[in-house]
């Protein structure tokens, strides 16, 4: 084996080992690398009351209620739901049916007291006329409902 071949195998093996190690670490840390949990995740894992966490999902249709300077709405992942209370400025994209990520704490009654609400949009871009036309034809797929 020439020196060049030896170096080639060394680099290839090194990269494979490093890739495998990274994959293992990332798999092991799967649960901490997510930016938010879904309402379903909350059901399956125990979250201590008062711990800060982020919850993501869609704002349920017809759930937004404004009371004084507080906004009440329900976050859903279409399997489980979570009621949220928030006081503060909402992003422009916030509306019913829109994806949101909200940061805060669970209170004793199972309500999520949010201190921050961020909007999350999907990867589809199109002009308004096209979106209207698709909605009109009944082909529109709401976020999160994709097959």
């Amino acid at each position: 084996m020439t020196r060049k071949q030896r170096r080639l195998y060394f680099v290839v093996l090194g990269m494979l080992a490093l890739g495998a190690a990274t994959a293992l670490v990332l798999t092991a840390m799967k649960d901490t690398l997510v930016y938010f949990y879904t309402p379903s995740d909350l059901k399956t894992r125990h979250v201590a009351e008062g711990r800060r966490l982020r919850i993501g999902g869609l704002v349920e249709q017809g759930s937004v209620v404004r009371q004084g300077d507080e906004v009440h709405f329900v976050v859903t992942d279409l399997q489980a739901t979570l009621p949220v209370v928030y006081r503060g400025v909402l992003p422009d994209l916030f509306r019913e049916g829109q994806g949101v990520v909200t940061e805060g704490k669970l209170d004793g009654q199972g309500t999520f007291r949010a201190s921050e609400v961020l909007a999350k949009h999907d990867e589809n871009y199109m002009p308004k006329e096209v979106a209207d036309a698709i909605k009109k034809s009944g082909q529109w797929q709401e976020e999160g409902k994709k097959p």
Binding site: R7, V11, Y35, H121, M126
Partner: protein, 251 residues
């Protein structure tokens, strides 16, 4: 292949190709900006803000491509001791770092009005920030040694080790729940962009890529010249020393 793997072959090739690349990047970016800013429509939910995409996406692409070029050249330099590969890796680093910074900056400007925050520690944004730090580390490590050869070797190993981050960036939005949305352009089922928005985006990506290659060629040529100057200076010092020794013997 065209004698491209030697410095002199590269200079000949670069001299022939560079003018065309500059013209192509000017035309593509000019046309791309015209479509992106004037012709293409506003987005149905993001409005005019969507136009940041036409700078943000090409920057992200070149930030990752600049790193890939750097890592592959570093591998070639380590394995085959190719003198040109070292220079290509060295030349790609600052260019790629600039595009990565541009991606993070435009992303931040886009995030505030749409998401409601300048920054979020989600997997996509964080892995992109790590890419910028890898570029900084590479540049710093290269200059940390008195002997440029040793600096290049250490930096090449760092470039290769950091290469695992590139697929992590690409697939971060699929592997984990992130605030950043999944890919629109490189999607299995075809681009999730309306053709009126896809056209300017592809023009900008092509234009940015030509620009990157053109800048890379300028930088590699200047690195070749710098290496020549270093070699000439060294030989001068040696000949002066040799003459001094000869004088000493004569005197």
């Amino acid at each position: 292949m065209l004698g491209l793997s030697t410095p002199s072959g590269f200079v000949r090739f670069a001299k022939a190709v560079s003018p065309w690349l500059w013209v192509a990047s000017a035309l593509l970016i000019g046309g791309g900006l015209y479509f992106a800013l004037l012709v293409s429509p506003a987005d149905y939910q993001q409005g005019q803000t969507v136009r940041i995409m036409y700078i943000h996406v090409p920057s992200a692409w070149l930030g990752m491509m600049g790193y890939s070029v750097m890592a592959l050249s570093s591998a070639a330099a380590l394995i085959w001791k190719n003198p040109l590969a070292d220079l290509v890796a060295k030349a790609s680093a600052p260019v790629g770092a600039c595009f990565t910074f541009l991606c993070l900056a435009t992303g931040s400007l886009w995030g505030k009005p749409m998401w409601g925050t300048w920054w979020a520690w989600d997997a996509r944004l964080t892995s992109m920030l790590i890419l910028l730090f890898l570029y900084f580390g590479y540049i710093a490590l290269q200059n940390a040694f008195d002997d440029p050869g040793r600096g290049a070797r250490a930096a090449a190993i760092l470039a290769l080790a950091g290469f695992v981050n590139v697929p992590v960036i690409k697939f971060s939005v699929d592997w984990w729940k992130t605030l950043h949305q999944p890919a629109s352009l490189m999607k299995m089922s075809g681009p999730a962009l309306h053709p009126s928005m896809l056209t300017p985006l592809l023009l900008m990506v092509a234009g940015f890529t030509c620009f990157y290659v053109a800048v890379l060629m300028v930088r590699v040529r200047s690195e070749i010249l710098a290496a020549k100057i270093r070699a000439l200076r060294l030989s001068e010092i040696h000949s002066v020393q040799a003459a001094g020794v000869a004088d000493g013997v004569a005197g």
